[in-house]
Subunit: 374 residues, 2 copies
Amino acid sequence: MADDYPFKETVRDRSSRARTGVLTTRHGELETPLFLPVGTKASVKAVGGDELGSTGSISLIANAFLLSMKPGVEIIENAGGLHEFMSWEGGIFTDSGGFQMIREGFLEKVTDEGIRFRSPYDGQRVMMTPELCRDIQLGLGSDVAMALDVCPPHDAGEDEVKEAVRLTINWARRFQPGPSTDGQLRFGIVQGGLDRGHRKECLDKILEVPFDGLAIGGLSIGEPKDVMFRVLDDLVPHMPDTHSRYLMGVGSPEDIIRSVERGVDIFDSVFPTRNARHRTLFTPNGKVNVRPSTFRNDPGAVQEDCPCMLCRKYSKSYLSHLFDVQEPLAWRLASLHNITFIQQVIKNMKMAIKEDRFSIWKEEFLRSYLSGGG
Amino acid sequence: MADDYPFKETVRDRSSRARTGVLTTRHGELETPLFLPVGTKASVKAVGGDELGSTGSISLIANAFLLSMKPGVEIIENAGGLHEFMSWEGGIFTDSGGFQMIREGFLEKVTDEGIRFRSPYDGQRVMMTPELCRDIQLGLGSDVAMALDVCPPHDAGEDEVKEAVRLTINWARRFQPGPSTDGQLRFGIVQGGLDRGHRKECLDKILEVPFDGLAIGGLSIGEPKDVMFRVLDDLVPHMPDTHSRYLMGVGSPEDIIRSVERGVDIFDSVFPTRNARHRTLFTPNGKVNVRPSTFRNDPGAVQEDCPCMLCRKYSKSYLSHLFDVQEPLAWRLASLHNITFIQQVIKNMKMAIKEDRFSIWKEEFLRSYLSGGG
């Protein structure tokens, strides 16, 4: 059975749990560590599927819940699936969207059956069950579908965490009653709050379900960073090497690197694109803010050696101007840069792991990046 | 002297005043008829200089007045000029911006000296003289600079039109006291409202100034279309063949074609990009509105034979979705399409003129386009 897993570890770092691997999907082999830009509504904000590949991205993640509301699964099925619909030939993960349903004010009630919520678009009542969640993602035709889970807030009490774990496990069994046979991979999600015991219990039960990979939910939602890393330190060693490990909602370059060090393979986050739209750009010397005082009269590139469209063709001065006069081109160029930056970090990190110098690379990168000298 | 003009007529239609020609600028030979997308603030809205060439555009127009306020001429000079600043290697026209100063509520007073206005950005008082207007455009480094003129409203009275003509002529002489010698071309602007006599008088006086080309201002600002064409019918035959003729602010495919028929060579307009952002797309069968009722479930291209990014890679269905969920990618794709459409019209029209079938081509295009069947 283990030989059937779609994930293969390729190189393991000797001084940490960092590793490289390959996740085989119906849209190609996705090398890990892997960062997924977020295209919630079937568009990575301000960036087209036609140019996402230029950032070094090989897969993205969309939100099944929101897409099922608008434009609706049928429309996307008629288009030939999400890849055709958004003109993207790389990998596509779909998140169940349980997190959005619970957090963004649409929720009416969570029951054993599922999540009852009101559509943010037309106010209609919908019951999202694990079965419906699976069917939606099957209809969308993503390469990797995420289970429906319950994600309690980071400061939830003991009872709330236990109930979330209970529902997450029950729903996982209903979401994936047998092994995937249709080419779509399905990942289970481990909840359990910040408690080692609940996490371990949830992991053990999720491992009994024939998922193709594992995700870690309920982190990076407001808890202190050291607490998040402590949870990873406790949890990841119990996760089998045969499963790729996806830490949902992370994140920043430094959090990604420190999570890879702890054995995580896959990441997604709006961090690069949201920062970009708010004038914050990543550079090897740290984040920089596109301030008129520093950018306005600088004809140099944001980052000299960066292969992105912004840095190859445009100056700091021009980008500053575009933000100042609120031209939408600013969002596109800044987003292309930040996604490219993260993908360059991923690429360099993979090379460092393969060349047995991950720790040195990590120290060097973080020393420069966190110096904030940029 | 006539041999020195930067414009050469190449082919003249036998049944109308339509013609092809070449305007030689320091950024290449611009074939006419020529359509300039508008990049008011040094960005064609939602479209980067890196992809404007893909629409078939070979030149654009920016607004010297607004750019002189923000980011300021010095910043653009430091960048190496407007071409470098916005990463655009094609031609660049700059409009004086007199129209914006007068129309958009910044105006304080028009005197013999120039236009006194308040900066829309910081409220500072500025006196825009013809000399300053020339110096700004020289600093921006555009290929073609437009004179400072006074453009009265289409329903202005006799006195207002006469005063506008008087100032436009005086300012033209101050703007261009001798022939251009620095590689930048300078165009004079003919005002005169809707009156044949005032137009002719203004043209005669403007022709005494050693401009490199001629523009027609004060049209397409609210007057009926047949009145605009009547003015062109009266005015253009008096314009020498040695000067390229630029009709400012036009426009729609049908207005461009009908103006080419009357001898106009050059056009600029926000029409394609503004329509695009408001969900209106051009097709050979007329304008179509991206309505959910017709687009939502249509996996076909907006226009099957269109070479633009939207039509090559994306469906009607996806575009409709992007507009519905307000993704900024919608503006970019729709703008790329509409600019490409206009440039295809220009390209086909040039070919028709060269092959002595302009009238037939025009009839066929307009029959289909104005049928509104799209």
